[in-house]
Amino acid sequence: MSQLVSMDVMLRSLDLAVTETLETMFFADALPAPLAGLPSGGISSVVRFEGDATGLLELRVSESSAKELAASFLGIDPPEVDRIQIESVCGEMANMICGAMVSIAAPEGRFALSPPQVLEPGEAAPVCSIIRTYEMESECLEVGLSCSFTDYSREH
């Protein structure tokens, strides 16, 4: 079998991508943590990717964390952040984490990312085969990942 990337590499890359994105763009610490399980609700953003690996990444944060992160990203006070800004920032966060993850996992790879989609309240989230939790200052952030890998040995 000949794959450019494996699930182990993808998960290690995901941890790095979450930590780097949160620290650099949101001025927040996020470290891998035991699976905690977020309360239902919150804001979910989905980014699909295809190429040397094909799948999707779902990012889920609570409403309060999303507001704090959006305020930090935009450089404004949390009470000033509106719903549209929160959703836009959550979509961007998922996009950056997904882009960073595939680029770290396979620097020589080829990938195309879909625009981020923020799920409507109550809309069914895609089923993810793996869920990772990251601990922030007061709450957690959850990332779901489903992924399959192109096997180049089958193409010849």
Binding site: E23, F73, G91, G99, A100, G109, R110, F111, L113
Partner: protein, 133 residues
């Protein structure tokens, strides 16, 4: 002191706002900011306002960053400012492709204010060389 006219091209208003804030934070100099949500809007803004530098995302609706670079490279008249690509995709293939299309630099997201300042300073040097030539 010179005022730098910087065009930020990204379909996300939140990301445009973030990039603007980072440039202000990184103490690059006096800047005037222009914004566009896609390549078509960017070309119109370039023609109208002749920015010194363009910072563009790749994945955008209507016209993406790759097409924007292709059109700018093919232009024989009009303003052709240096273009810095700012993207989440930092695979070697993508970076190489964008540089071949004419981008002067490539900044991967996530990025630090220091990294942003560095690509802007490099672009400023490039512009100074062109002006002195």
């Amino acid at each position: 002191m010179r005022t730098w006219r910087i065009l930020i091209v990204d379909d996300s208003p939140a990301m445009r706002s973030f990039i603007r804030r980072v440039i202000q934070l990184c103490d690059f100099g006096t800047c005037e900011f222009l914004e566009a949500g896609n390549g078509v809007e960017a070309l119109a803004t370039i023609d109208l306002h002749a920015p010194d530098v363009v910072l563009t995302d790749i994945n955008m609706p209507v016209m993406n960053g790759e097409e924007l670079l292709r059109i700018m490279a093919a232009r024989v008249t009009g303003s052709k400012p240096p273009v810095i690509v700012v993207s989440t995709d930092s695979t070697h293939t993508r970076v190489s492709n964008m540089l071949q299309l004419g981008a002067t630099s490539y900044l991967k997201k996530p990025f630090t204010p220091e990294a942003m300042r560095q690509v802007l300073e490099e672009t400023k040097l490039l512009l100074d060389e062109v002006l002195q030539a």
